[in-house]
Structures are given as structure tokens and as C-alpha cells.
Symmetry: C2
Subunit: 213 residues, 2 copies
Amino acid sequence: MSTATNSNNTATNFNSKATNIVWHDAAVTPAERQDKLGNKPCILWYTGLSGSGKSTVANAVDRMLHDRGYATYLLDGDNVRHGLNKDLGFSDADRVENIRRIAEVSRLFNDAGLIVSTAFISPFMSDRDSARALIGDDFIEIFVDTPLEECEKRDPKGLYKKARAGEISNFTGIDSPYEAPGAPEMHVQTQGKSIEEVAKQIVDYLIAQNYIK
Amino acid sequence: MSTATNSNNTATNFNSKATNIVWHDAAVTPAERQDKLGNKPCILWYTGLSGSGKSTVANAVDRMLHDRGYATYLLDGDNVRHGLNKDLGFSDADRVENIRRIAEVSRLFNDAGLIVSTAFISPFMSDRDSARALIGDDFIEIFVDTPLEECEKRDPKGLYKKARAGEISNFTGIDSPYEAPGAPEMHVQTQGKSIEEVAKQIVDYLIAQNYIK
């Protein structure tokens, strides 16, 4: 091939004498990343009240998947609210933007081939539906269904106590609604169960759905 | 242990009869993720003019790393500008926010154990320095140094032509400055070199710095 006939390709070809003129197309594909990591990527979108056990279950599942050799990542308040989303407050607009960014970042992690979990209250159906629309088929909504009275009894961070005392407002379950999922892919209950039992249920679902082996 | 003495832990222990009360601490650690993936995570922050070859080099390096068995991910205009950062324009504030989010997302990928590359012009030193400050020691700035006249000759997207014709403004190198890195970890030149040659230089650096083997 002459240089002239390939003038459109010069940007991908520093050395006009090189023959590999389509190097740019050598980008690693999502399929290749999946092959390497051995799983089908998906998003485990945990939703539930504060204290319902979302984070605990998500960590337990993440641990099980890691121990089985899969590459995973868990997005939660600790690594998102203080970093990427630290500019966001709790207004309606900010809440929507918070979920949008989490969904977009999840999508990037999926594109990289990982199984990603998100553990946020995400109380509004419309927000979760937006995330689902953005992500598509591999969005797995997991409703961690623990009754309010039980969550309030656990109150791991003392937030219910503060909400009841009026020290914090717009607290989900107290003075802000939690819209339970209508048709989540998984509906798990935590009362009277061991964490391992609940986590195993989710891992079994992933096997049944061919995300992992 | 009695239930009473562990009342602070009940949130991580659905079944009060279970003995494993610190399950929450079983979260997979960054060190465990790294062990699994076999590399030390880092961020390859490519910077250079439009048409300099950033994306081409980044893809070539990504391919080499993938072929050597490493888990990697490349953030670029294609997967970031149309997704996570689609709400941002090109004002000063948006430009800063664009880079901040890219750095924060890179940090999440690093936390997940991956080697992440970013291929954006990122023309301003202050923005790159902010990203470096956020990420720390594993920030590897790679200056893809291709002279403006060469970039303009390549003009892979026809943008220089439009900028010269006044059809687009604030175009880096034409009517907006590019601030070259003062002390980048790597300074690569693309003119008269093959893409493979340049990519190999970067892979060799990662080996020398013990990020990969």
C-alpha cells in the first residue's frame, strides 16, 4: 500500500513506513475482558432501608465472589459519597444526580468486565428505574427487605435515634418515603437468617442466570 | 459471648445466634484484589494535543498489558464524555469538574485493583496537578509530545481545520493554550516512531517501577 492511499489513517500510524495501520482498532474489547475475568458482568443493585443490611450482604456476596476467583467491586457510601459525589447534597436534583453517576460508574466497571455491586438506600423507584434503563439487561435489583422496626432496633449508626429526635430530616422511613421495588430480580429477607444464608441465595441466583459458574 | 455485650454489632449479625459477628469486616481489601489481579494498580494519565496520539498509544499499551494477563481499563472521550460527564460543557468550571470526576473514577478503578489509563487532552497543569494530588504516588503522567504542526497535519477528526476556520473556538493549540508538563513521569515522542515502539517504552517503565512483572 502506498502512503497516499492511506492518508486517512496517518493518525494511527506514527511511522508512515509501518504496515500495521489499523492499530487503533486493537483496543481491548469488552468480550476479551470478560474472557480474561471469567464472568459475565452485571450490576447487583442493593436497595433497602438504612440498617436493612444492604452493605453487610453486599460485602458478604463480594467476598464469596472474590473467593471463587471473580473480579468484583463494591460501590458504597464510603468510596462514593466522599469522593466522586462529594459535591452533592440531598436535594432532589442532587439525589437524582447521585444515582445517575453511580449507575454510569457501574456501567464503566461492567465494561471493564467486573461484577459491580452498589449499596445505597436508593429509596425512589424512579431513580432505580433510571439506573435500570441506563444499564439494561444486566441490572439486578436486590431488595433487602428488613422491616422498619427491625432496622430501627439495629440502628447501627444511631441515625434513627437522631431522626426521631428531629436532629436530622428527610430520613428514609421516618419523614421521607421508601418506595419498595415492585418486581426486583431478588427479594431477600434478613430477619432470622444468617448473613451467609442470604449471601448464598444471591450467589446461587448468579449461577442460575449464568453470570458466574 | 452474650448477645448483650455485642449489642453494637447486631447490625452485622442478622441472626443473634450466629457466632460470626464481625462479618462486615470480611470486605475484600484492596490488597486482596491486587493479589488476585497480579499487578500493582496505577493510573497512566496521558496528556497531549488533539491528534498527538494519546488514544492510540493508550490503546496499544492497554492491549499489551491485557495480552500479558493484566486487568486494565481505559477511560477516554468515548466512554466518559457521553456518559458520566455528559452534563458537562467546556466552561472553566466544567473543565475542572470533568478532570475531577475522571480522577475520582480512576481512583475507584485503582481501588478495584486495575491499571487504569486516561486519554484526555487535559491541557492545564493545575488540573493535572489536582488529579495527581488526589491519586498520589501511583499517578503516572505521560506526556505524548507531538509538535502542533504534526498534529495539525494528522488532524484525524478534522478539528484543526474547523478551529482554523473559526468554526470551533477554545481549541487547544489554536486559540487555547496547552501547558506542557514540567516533570512528567514519562515523556514520549511519536514522530518517526512506530506505535509499538512507543507503547513498549511505557510497558518497560511499568516493569522497571514494579507495577507489573
